[in-house]
């Protein structure tokens, strides 16, 4: 009896060995990117609902747009209509630049709200046009308001920061979808492209200082009155002559660090303009991406980056890219995302900005 059991056990063991020798294959280690440093790629047709593949357009604008950004599921953008019988384009302007002689006053618009990143059939990140929410009315503003940036505070109050001829102004609404009323301006002069985030218990504004050709930083406790820290953050690499059009986002890394990231344009040798990134945890010391091709290496002509933080470490950027309409440069409103290997389709709702 014992012998039979022994032989049986031996046979079972051998069968176990034989049956187990079947192989499988696995992929290379997964790509991990939690820094938002890219490289970004343009959104696909599936991710934009087929709006205008393959150039990543998220809003089919007919007006000339200088900047767009997403807040509370709405696209805020400025728009200037082409004037009747526009003059020929100024040949001295660099390629891709707007010729304001061909355009009317710029105003600020807001799209209809929509879920971002979830609705596959209607496009994961695309927007329809919407009503005008702000236009120039104050003497310091001149004829145009542009470069919108909406910050929604913890109590739901939405503040629309915008640029105009005399600097940066502030409008407020009870929510991002509410009616905006101008409350202050100019809060920063000689500046454009405001971007405001809550960081370290205060509101921090980064802006393009048009007198220094670089990026400035100001702070505020109430979102209306700002104190300038500097008009010249030390973010430029050797050989860079200009920094412009910042867009900021506050992210929490997987290890719990709260990081302020700023995407901006940098102009280097031979007037090569890239979109790049700097980041800080304390507003004192900054780390600057040193890549010569920036975060958008494969996206030609991208301008005015405005980040939108999604879950799962996905960072989306709204951008403008060169586009002509009947001979007038108007810029296309596009979207890009990183990590590039992930898909925005079926991605989660955007995380609340800190």
């Amino acid at each position: 009896m014992m012998r039979r059991r022994s032989i049986g056990l031996a046979a079972m063991t051998l069968a176990f060995v034989a049956c187990a020798t079947l192989g499988a294959e696995t992929d290379f280690p997964d790509i991990i990117q939690s820094s938002g440093a890219g490289p970004f790629r343009l959104l696909t047709a599936e991710e934009t609902g087929g709006l205008a593949a393959p150039n990543g357009r998220i809003y089919f604008n007919r007006q000339a747009v200088q900047r767009s950004m997403v807040a509370d599921g709405m696209l805020f953008y400025d728009g200037a209509d082409e004037i009747d019988e526009p003059p020929d384009r100024n040949p001295d302007l660099p390629e891709g630049a707007l010729d304001f002689a061909q355009l009317g006053p710029s105003r600020i618009f807001r799209s209809e709200p929509r879920p971002v990143g979830m609705d596959v059939l209607e496009g994961a990140l695309s927007f329809n046009g919407g009503p005008m929410v702000l236009e120039a009315s104050e003497a310091w503003e001149g004829e145009s308001v542009f470069d919108p940036w909406v910050h929604v505070d913890d109590d739901g109050t939405a503040r629309l920061y915008y640029a105009a001829e005399g600097g940066i102004g502030v409008a407020e609404a009870s929510s991002a979808g509410g009616a905006f009323s101008k409350v202050a301006g100019p809060v920063i002069t000689d500046a454009r492209s405001p971007t405001v985030v809550r960081f370290g218990g205060e509101l921090v504004m980064l802006f393009e200082a048009t007198d220094t050709g670089t990026i400035g930083l100001a702070r505020s406790s109430d979102g209306r009155a700002f104190t300038e820290d500097t008009r010249e953050l030390d973010l430029a690499l050797a050989g860079e002559s200009e920094l412009a059009r910042p867009g900021a986002v506050v992210a929490t890394t997987p290890t719990g660090r709260t990081v302020l990231r700023v995407y901006f344009e940098a102009v280097g040798a031979e007037d090569l303009r890239i979109v790049t990134l700097a980041a800080t945890v304390d507003l004192d010391s900054w780390d600057r991406l040193e890549s010569e091709i920036g975060v958008l290496s494969t996206v030609e002509g991208a301008r005015a980056p405005a980040p939108l933080l999604l879950d799962d470490g996905i960072t989306a950027l709204t951008l403008t890219r060169p586009r002509e309409s009947r001979g007038v440069e108007v810029h296309a409103v596009c979207g890009a995302m990183a990590p590039a290997h992930l898909s925005l389709v079926d991605a989660p709702e955007p995380a609340a900005e800190e």
Binding site: L9, A20, T21, A24, D30, I32, S34, S35, T255, D287
Partner: protein
């Protein structure tokens, strides 16, 4: 005198055939069920086929001819940022042999152990620095381990053993020649290529000693040498680019990549066992791993590109193509404690039933990955358990015994944070943690 000659033969054999030293898949997952279930704390008294890895001195201890076959499987559940990483299950068939002999009055034994992965014979994957990789579990266990040893017992209380282990580096060459059409590469190109692959062999030594001065005590020391597996990949292209302009554009490309694909540190294990009663067996062990000598795993690459396109085509050939230098890994040495307990639950003339428990703490030699590199590793707490049934009343079918051992392991890798020095690092901060689950079985036939 004969004993001295035998010991000298062992030393001479090692000196002649072992030119380098390396480490192995059993370093990660162990070898054979009994030893694994005791947490690997067996250096002081191992005597089965696993002595080929743990301490070759044990081969001569029992004086029995042993044939062993088994299988082990370890499933990793390793996570980065709470997402499971692509680290495959490790499964391997293991085979062992212990063959006793006599040389005059001296007792000798020869041993062999083979660890044969079931998914592939060897695996090499280049390290992509921007992709965090579980360095200890991704590729290291996935290769053949073959060890041969010889042991001698010059005195009843002393056994000495030594041997070598084999590993295989690779040397691959791809040579492309001909004409490549720039715009219609599929239909208009005329290219021929040659591929050469050379899997050579390197060897490294192991040696050990066991001292058993009293029936209740035994001590052991084992040494396993260092090894480094280098992979060399050469890609050569000597071609003409056609389809651009009127004349062919000569193109020469050369890539030489020389990398360390695996390194095993030299290591020393010191163990002791104590049998306070006939049914209780206690084992302790401490192993030193010389990980501080670990070379860089980043390939040392030399890339040359030469072409002379006619002016006007707008093609610019870079003067120099650079790659990441072989950055140091900055590993540190580790000391790994092991504890094993074996309880004889039942013993009759027909069988012996034993249960086993073990614990191992392995502190990771890898630092937190705060810079450019992303070789992920965590500390590891491992609990092992096993059962062994030895059947001893098998004559005349089997003049000896039949042992069936099974084991299970559970490893816990507590969370570790990798906080990058640069906030704009291409990868960024991440957390790593995980678990390993493993089972295995061993069947051993021992002839008296």
């Amino acid at each position: 005198m004969v004993s001295r000659v035998a010991a000298a033969l062992v030393a001479l054999w090692v000196a002649l055939v072992a030119n380098r030293a390396e480490a192995t898949p059993p370093d990660t997952h162990g070898l054979f069920s009994r030893s694994i279930s005791l947490g690997g704390a067996v250096t002081a008294d191992v005597e089965d086929s696993s002595a080929n890895y743990y301490n070759p001195a044990g081969l001569v201890r029992s004086g029995e001819l042993r044939l062993t076959v088994g299988y082990l499987s370890v499933s990793p559940y390793l996570n980065i940022n709470d997402e499971r990483s692509s680290v495959e299950r490790h499964g391997a068939m293991v085979v062992g042999l212990v063959a006793p002999a006599t040389f005059g009055n001296a007792r000798l034994a020869f041993g062999l152990a083979l660890h044969l992965p079931d998914q592939r014979l060897a695996r090499t994957r280049s390290a992509v620095v921007t992709r965090p990789r579980w360095e200890m579990y991704d590729t290291r266990p996935g290769r053949i381990y073959l060890a041969t040893n010889i042991a001698v017992s010059p005195a009843p209380w002393l056994t000495i053993g030594a041997g070598i282990t084999f590993q295989s580096p690779s040397d691959l060459t791809l040579d492309i020649r001909g004409d490549a059409h720039a715009t219609s590469p599929d239909s208009m190109s005329r290219l021929e290529h040659q591929f050469a692959g050379d899997l050579t062999s390197i060897r490294y030594p192991q040696a050990g000693i066991q001292i058993h001065p009293h029936e209740k005590f035994s001590f052991g020391v084992a040494y396993r040498g260092e090894f480094e597996l280098r992979n060399r990949i050469v890609a050569l292209a000597d071609a003409n680019i056609i389809g651009i302009g009127a004349d062919p554009i000569p193109l020469q490309f050369s890539l030489v990549s020389d990398t360390t694909s695996m390194f095993g540190p030299q290591q020393v294990s010191v163990g002791a066992v104590f049998d306070p009663t006939s049914w209780l067996h206690l084992a302790f062990e401490l192993t030193w791993y010389d990980y501080s000598k670990h070379p860089s795993l980043i390939a040392d690459q030399e890339i040359l590109l030469s072409a002379d396109p006619p002016p006007g085509l707008g093609i610019t050939i870079p003067d120099e193509i650079t790659s990441l230098p072989p950055l140091p890994l900055n590993l540190h040495d580790t000391f790994v404690p092991r504890v094993g307990i074996e309880i004889t639950a039942a013993r009759t003339e027909a069988y012996t039933l034993q249960t086993r428990l073990g614990y191992v703490y392995e502190n990771s030699p890898f630092p937190a990955q705060t810079g450019t590199l992303n070789f992920v590793d965590n500390d590891k707490h491992t609990i092992t358990a096993g059962v062994g049934l030895q059947l001893t009343d098998l004559e005349p079918t089997l003049p000896g015994s039949l042992s069936i051992d099974v084991h299970a392991i559970y490893s816990y890798l507590p969370e570790r944070e990798h906080i990058k020095d640069s906030l704009v690092d291409p990868v960024g901060d991440y957390r790593s943690d995980g678990h390993l689950f493993g089972v295995g079985a061993t069947l051993e036939v021992a002839f008296e």
